[in-house]
Symmetry: C2
Subunit: 198 residues, 2 copies
């Protein structure tokens, strides 16, 4: 029983936060509405006052993730596009380390069949992400900061792959704390591939 009632907006936000917290230690596919409610000190029924169904909860989580992550990307600063790319990479890693539940949920949504809502969100997020990376790479090439010959789509795929691979390897090891240490060296290697001057 909640000491204080929350407004609908606040309750929804709290739900998203709770779900992400739970996902840090639990397989998202195994998270039940009962578990979420219990964690929030609320009954199960209360959840369905704010979300039409369980899917809507996942959709809200994905929404929050996309909004927050993209906002942080857009807040990134740096003199050269390469510096901004590096900052973006670090920002993303930091986000994942502080919210380990997020990649788990993301991967879980990706598993859904057909065109499920959650999957569409992930797709949109990845597309927006890719676009930002591509733009920075294009800018870098225009400024001759990277080799003229760089295959930009391939480089964008590799950039995304670095983050995703790192996240997967962290999940496999059940340890996200080592990510920041590896990430710098990984980005250096990426720069070598682009022919960035040092």
């Amino acid at each position: 029983m909640p000491r204080t009632k929350l407004s609908a907006d606040a309750r929804r936000a709290a739900t998203v936060e709770t779900v992400i917290g739970l996902a840090a230690a639990t397989n998202p596919a195994d998270i039940t509405t009962a578990q979420i409610a219990a964690q929030m000190d609320v009954t199960q029924g209360a959840l369905f006052r704010h979300f039409a169904d369980k899917q809507a909860i996942w959709a809200a989580v994905m929404d929050w993730t996309a909004t927050t992550l993209l906002a942080r990307f857009d807040a990134v600063t740096g003199v050269t596009p390469i510096e901004r790319l590096r900052a973006m990479f670090a920002t993303h890693i930091d986000f994942v380390v502080t919210h380990p539940g997020v990649p788990r949920i993301l991967f879980g949504e990706l598993q859904r069949d057909g065109d499920a809502l959650g999957k569409m969100s992930v797709r949109a997020l990845m597309a927006a992400y890719r676009e930002r990376v591509t733009n920075l790479l294009t800018e870098a090439k225009a400024q001759s900061l990277i080799a003229e010959t760089v295959d930009i789509p391939a480089a964008a795929t590799m950039f995304l792959g670095m983050v995703q691979g790192l996240a997967m390897q962290a999940m496999a090891a059940s340890d996200f704390t080592t990510m920041p240490a590896v990430s710098g060296r990984l980005f250096d290697l990426f720069c070598d591939g682009l022919g960035v001057a040092k």
Copy 2:
């Protein structure tokens, strides 16, 4: 009702194949024992004669995957270690394209809590994979085929990340057919990072 009874071994093998087939189009977390049985023209009860529980089915799938994939890696040929690395990459992509259910199952197992059987298998597979990549990179460096300065652990992480990222992006797009086309260009970029002479 099955036209012919199968031996226990054959039935287990058929089950693994069926599950991988189902996972190509269905979220592994949503695959039920009833579905598996139906697909095999067998009753649900029959499955539990060959597997102690559902977990055991996933474990068998992971076993098959690890064995098959590693065997293909070890069968790879090429004059230089770099050529072998490229062949390994292509082999993996080819495997994923012909068995799209496999990465989905793998990602699903990775989601499990704690030290679930399936997760341990994935972990072992990834470790064995990483070891092979590391060995080839070390060999390449010894033969001066790649820059002396290459950060081998980072390069191994990047190699795994390329495959995993590619698989994830294919899952997001629900389209595995474009993978081979991208993979060659991706590997070229990887070589640039290593400083491979062309």
